[in-house]
């Protein structure tokens, strides 16, 4: 067996096990989501919470509260997650004690 064929055989034998589906740490998903929202908000307003709801994705309790406020779309497009304690907890703890339905940070938790 040549060196090359040994390593080719080894890589082929271990590829599936090596790349076996691993769960992404909750904290990492939370951080990346925050970074994505920050980038999106830098280049333009986020879709308003009313717009999100209209697209069929349910809102969390805080977003719902904003949605029913008598304010304009500009306010409803702000990145509220940025000031939410759920974000802070989810970015710092692997099993953050957040259980709000439809909160992305809660849904990222590997429970």
């Amino acid at each position: 067996m040549t060196d090359d064929s040994f390593f080719e055989e080894l890589s082929s034998a271990t590829e599936a096990e090596l790349g076996k589906m691993a769960r992404t740490p909750s904290r990492l998903k939370a951080k990346v989501f925050s970074a994505l929202l920050a980038q999106q908000a830098e280049s333009g307003p986020l879709l308003s919470v009313s717009g999100c709801e209209a697209s069929g994705r349910p809102l969390c309790v805080f977003e719902k509260a904003v949605e029913i406020l008598p304010v304009g779309e500009r306010i409803k497009s702000l990145n509220f997650c940025r000031v939410c304690h759920a974000r802070v907890a989810a970015e710092k703890m692997e099993r953050a004690p957040i259980f709000w339905p439809h909160c992305p940070y809660s849904e990222f938790q590997n429970r």
Binding site: S11, A35, L46, E107
Partner: protein, 197 residues
Amino acid sequence: MSRASHSSNEPGAAASASDDAALVAAVLQRDRKATAEFLSLHADSIYSYVRSRLIPRADLVDDVFQEVFLAAWQGLAGFRGASSLRSWLLGIARHKVEDYYRLKLREALPIETEEGDPLPLILEPELDQAVDLWRLTQKVQQILGTLPEAYSLALLWRYWENCSAAEMAAKTGRSEKAVERMLARAREQFKSRWKGE
């Protein structure tokens, strides 16, 4: 050509092209909920791939993972649906990993080819006797984790990403001979650890 297909049985693995297109359109509208769904659906396959390709640098996995998704957001408008969204993301991940390989190997490889230092003779590690797949993989991971970083990355690039020495040379701007020499030294060290020397 890389074998990084990493198909999975996680939710959304069978998402159709129309599902992908709808999700991409929603993310491009900066829909926060769609963005969370985009991340949730594809995080595990990207994370698994990046982790498997950066064995000697587990500390970098989080950063590269984040870079993949930020680059995806920046390039999402260019997603045409020619492949699945997952394959497209894995393509970005592959490029990010390769960027790191290129950087580290460029630093480690000499600019000029040295003469002498002949390639080592072929040895025969006893792969057939490897007990089971899990233990085999653990052993491979353990050895790759303890080799000098450039050697581990060179082996991963060459054999797990199926990149030829010529391609590695072209991508690092070094000679093929220099890449071959590094691979030979990497293989030699790997084999000696494999045999428990």
